[in-house]
Structures are given as C-alpha cells and as structure tokens.
Amino acid sequence: MELLRFSTAGSVDDGKSTLIGRLLYDSKSIFQDQYDAIEESSKRKGDENVNLALLTDGLRAEREQGITIDVAYRYFATPKRKFIIADTPGHIQYTRNMVTGSSTSNLSIILIDARHGVVEQTCRHTFISSLLGIPHVVFCINKMDLVDYSEEAYEKIKSDLEAFSSKLDVKDIHFIPISALNGDNVVNQSEKMDWYKGSTLMYLLENIHIGSDYNHIDCRFPVQNVIRPQSDKYPDYRGYAGRIAGGVFKPGDEVAILPSGFTSKIKSIDTMNGQLAEAFAPMSVAITLEDDIDVSRGDMIVRENNQPSVDQNIDLMICWLNDKKMTPNGKYAIKHTSNDVRCVIKEVVYKMNINNLHRIEDDKEINMNDVARISIRTTKPLLFDKYTRNRTTGSLILIDEATNETVGAGMII
C-alpha cells in the first residue's frame, strides 16, 4: 500500500473543513463515537445536517488563543492507499503556512467556490503549488449544489483555470466539480452531474500515479552519518548512512564522492534486514565503498557521469517565514541536505506579487509571507540541483543566527 501526502488549500468558508470531513466520513475513517459527538454537537447548534466540518475543528479554540497553527496533519486510509493531509488554515499568514504544509506534498487540492469562480486566492494557491513543485494539482470546484449543478458554470471556471495555469509550471492538473456538503463526486459519483465523466476525488487520490514523483534518474546520496561499529564482529566496517535523494544505486556502481571528487565503487547497500540489490529515493540505507576514502557528513555520493552543480553563488526563490524582515546584505545560516553553511544575501532581484504574478522591482523589502527571487553567496560550495529537478537537493532553509529560528524557505533556480 502506497502513501500519498496531500495538502488542502482554501480560505475561510470555501468548504475545506467540510471536504476533509466528507473524505474521512465517506471513506469510513471515523469511529462511531466521533460521529456521535459531532452529530450531538450539530443538533445543539441547530444544524439541519450533521456538520462534517466539525471533525477537523479541534484547532479553532487554539487559534482563538493566538497559538500559531500553521499546519495540522491528519491521517486516514482506504484499502488502496494511506493518506497524510497537511491542512493549512486559511488566515492571514497563509503563504507561509501553505509553503510549509506543501513542502512534502505529492498533491495539492485547491478549492474554488463555484459561485465566485477564480479569485485572487485561487491564483495565490496555484502559484504556491507550482513554486513548491507539487507534482499534481487538483482543482475542486465546490458548492456545485449552489449553482444548480450547472455544467456551464463548471466549464467557465475550468477554462479560466486552464488559461491561468498555463503561465505556471504545474505538471499534472485535474478538475472535479463537487459538492462537499452533499458528497457529490467526493467519494461517490454524483447523480446530479451526469454530464461529468471524470473520476471522483477519492478515485483520483487512490489511483493517481505517484511512483514518478521522486527523481529516479540523477543519483544523489547525501551522507548523514558514518557508521563505524569497531566491534569484534565488525572491526573494519565503515558504512555511510543516508536517505537517497535521487536515482537508483546498485552494488558495483562507479561513484564519485563530492566535494573531494574521489571515485570508487559501491561494495554493498546494507540494512539490518539484509543487503539490497538496489536502492532508490526515499529509502534510508547504508552504503559501503570498495576503497578506503575519507567520507563524512555533508558529502554526497553521486554517479561519476551525472553530477550536481557545485557553486557558492546561488540564485533562489524564497518565501520569508518570520515576522522579522530579511536584513539586506544580511548573513544567515543555511541548512541544505546534510550540510550546514553560512551565507550572505547579495541581492534581491525582485519580489513577486503572488495575486497576479507581477514582478515588483522597486520594493526590495522582504517581510513575512513575501516571495522573492534573491541571490546569495555561501561560505563553501553547495552540492545542489535545481529545485524543479530535485526537491531534496534543490531546497534549503535560512536560519537567523541570533535566534536560531527558521526564517526562510529557499528553492534553488
């Protein structure tokens, strides 16, 4: 059974909580006592129907207390797949939250109110999905019950979305007309929209091909730890532990170790359960080499004929996550794969108006929730790929050295 991670984007009142509640309820992922509790609570509030949105409502009280709720994770499973939902509440810090929640997603669900069509929020959500390189985007045109399940209304919104999305780099786009409230096309096929021949949302979530979401071409193995038991049984064992970030590794492969550039061959790929004939992203393994080379945390094992970029000058898109604005020409710590370096901000090239995708070139102040293109210089070369090529070797975080807080999310261009 595969694991699919998805995020849901939407603002207040677009039916996001109802949709998640509907997915959980119709996929029979909630227990009777949970259902009884929300049924009781719905009755008390005078709701006509059982309000499924209450299933995910645990965070409202905390939000009112001012506690930061950037992402809440929820879990459910069907016989076909297991799902992790990164649920980002749609309030003022939306960009920061959605960037955080989407960073590990395979798929993004963007909700659109059928009565209002494509609005500024839709534009923002789609842009962030594309910025974060989420492989699959599903536009759910919700509240179809309020537009009489009209095919015309749906087609109009769909063509608006297609026109807009063509400006962005989104690989795989789907459109589904739904009513989260009544359950149309969520888990069960709608009887009211026989003009829609596509799949339901659940069918898509269960069947969409995610096997290619990881890069299986460029071999990248950032070394996390060196394993040296120095025990009687393993006196000379020297294994390099890490999680494969790309490509397929096999024993016998000719590899290069960066940044030194020394070459060797893979002797074995080890796990406690036995040796592997091959290993690919995102497996955690230990690799041993034929030759005795000095390899340590922060190094990267790659194929000799397919190497990442090695550079100190790096261009990236960033999303600023902290209420303290970015210091012009400031110095920040960086975490990138298993590497810790420092950097200086060389230039803010432009800021992005993410509501209309226009570039802002006359205002270079980077505040929380801003998205911008910047260039930096690092204290030592990073071993990286473009973010669009590899989400692991192409991503980094900026850290404020005074507070140790994570202040920026970077995607290398």
Binding site: E2, L59, Y73, V248, M272, S395
Partner: protein, 248 residues
C-alpha cells in the same frame, strides 16, 4: 520500466530512520525515552536499524513511575540486554521522596502527571540536549500540529506560539545553551501503522498487549486492572476476564 515505489510502512520507516540519524548528528547528547510501551519499542527498533551494525549511539531513558506492570519491566530489562543498549532510569518515587513532587491522592490518583518533573530532572542531571519520544500526531487533535523537532526553552517549556516552521525534510536543531529539543520520529504514524509494523517486523512486545486472563474492575466504562496502585470503590467489584491492554 520498473516501478520504484515503497509501501507506506517502508516510507514511514525510512522517514523515522532519517530523523533518528539527524538527531545523532545534530545533537551532542541525545537520549531515547523508552517506556516499554509499543510506540517506544518501535522507535528503539528503528534506532537499531538506523545505526546497524553499530549499536544505538544514545542511551534509553525510562522515566519510571514505580507503578508498572511487572511484565513491562521484565520486558524492558530483557530488551535492553538483548540489544546491548545503555539504560538510564529516572525514578518518580525518588522525586516524591525528595519532596520535589507531591503524590496525588484519591480514587483516580495517578503518577502520570508527575512524570514530567522527573523527566526534566533526568534531562538536566544527564545534560541531555535532545529527548526522543514515541508520540504520534494522530493520538489527539492537539498533537496534530506538533513538529518532528520541538524546541524547549531553558525551563524545559514548550512555547506553542513560537515553534519553528518545518519544511521538506530539513530539521533545524540549532539551540542556545541550556535549551533542549524533544524529537518525535514516528510523528506521522497512526495506531494502525504501529501494529502493522510490529506484525511485519515480528517485533516482540510485552505480553500484556495480548489477550490473557486477569483480575479487573470497571470504572466509567473503562476496564482497569486490579493492582495495588489503584484504590477500588466498593461499587467496583473485581472480576476475572480475558483482556488485552490498549495502552500501558
């Protein structure tokens, strides 16, 4: 072309092993909280996998309430011996004896609330800068937003208004002197995943998780074990039943 994909258990395991390895690298003196319960057992199991064929490079810490089922302690001691790990026990009884905490009284008295004090004391005494635990986000709604790496200030407090955003698989364990982290490698696991994994990996668990005959009584709809640590009311007669524990 061959399809390269992992099962959900393989992916969750890989994620947890990655986190365990990050902890070993980013912290100077980490520890793994080990209660002998199923969640901490699978974390310990994956810690073995993460560093195999070397031993787990940090100690296992048991915050001992003194109110244990004997089966759990027997299991704990055997397990630690089998994997050659270093066990440190922090004793709630000792905290009570030293007057640092006050024992709860009454029918629903429990030592669960006192554990926190003993835990922080143990962390301070051994200068641990990271304590890993088996907490999961699906356990309760409030945990749904908990981080993998959760920052604690120099009083051991969690400030929910000031948690670091966590992106991709990049974990920021940077801290000032005196601060520490709580890390939860199985954040993304559900109860079902834990049981499936135990079955799949054939992991040994304390016998009380499996059905057996035991003296029990009922309180507010919950079946509880008759023990010297819980006072029973007259209206709560002991009966013998076939039971298994969901939580210990």
């Amino acid at each position: 072309m061959q399809s390269y994909s992992l099962t959900h258990l393989q992916e969750l395991e890989s994620e947890a092993i990655y986190v365990l390895r990050e902890v070993a690298s980013q912290f100077e003196n980490p520890a793994l909280l080990f209660s002998g319960g199923k969640d901490s057992i699978i974390v310990a199991h994956m810690a073995r996998k993460a560093f195999w064929p070397a031993k787990i490079p940090f100690p296992l810490v048991h915050v001992d309430t003194g109110h244990n089922f004997p089966e759990t302690i027997v299991f704990r001691d055997q397990y630690v011996k089998d994997i050659g790990a270093n066990l440190i026990v922090g004793s709630v009884q000792q905290s009570i004896d030293e007057g640092k905490v006050i024992e709860e009284k009454g029918f629903n008295a429990s030592r669960n609330g006192l554990q926190t004090v003993t835990l922080l004391e143990t962390i301070e005494k051994h200068k641990f800068d990271c304590a890993m635990g088996g907490a999961r986000r699906d356990e309760e709604k409030a945990r749904a937003k908990e981080r993998f790496f959760s920052h604690r200030d120099d009083f051991g407090q969690w400030d929910p208004k000031n948690q670091r955003p966590e992106l991709w698989n990049i974990f920021n364990g940077k801290k000032n002197v005196g601060e520490h982290f709580r890390v939860f490698p199985i954040s993304n696991w559900t109860e079902m995943d834990v049981w499936q994994y135990i079955l799949h990996e054939k992991i040994q668990i304390p016998s009380i998780y499996l059905a057996h005959e035991r003296d029990v009584f009922e309180r507010d709809g919950v079946i509880m074990s008759t023990t010297e640590f819980i006072e029973q009311r007259d209206t709560e007669p002991t009966v013998r039943k076939k039971v298994r524990f969901r939580t210990i």
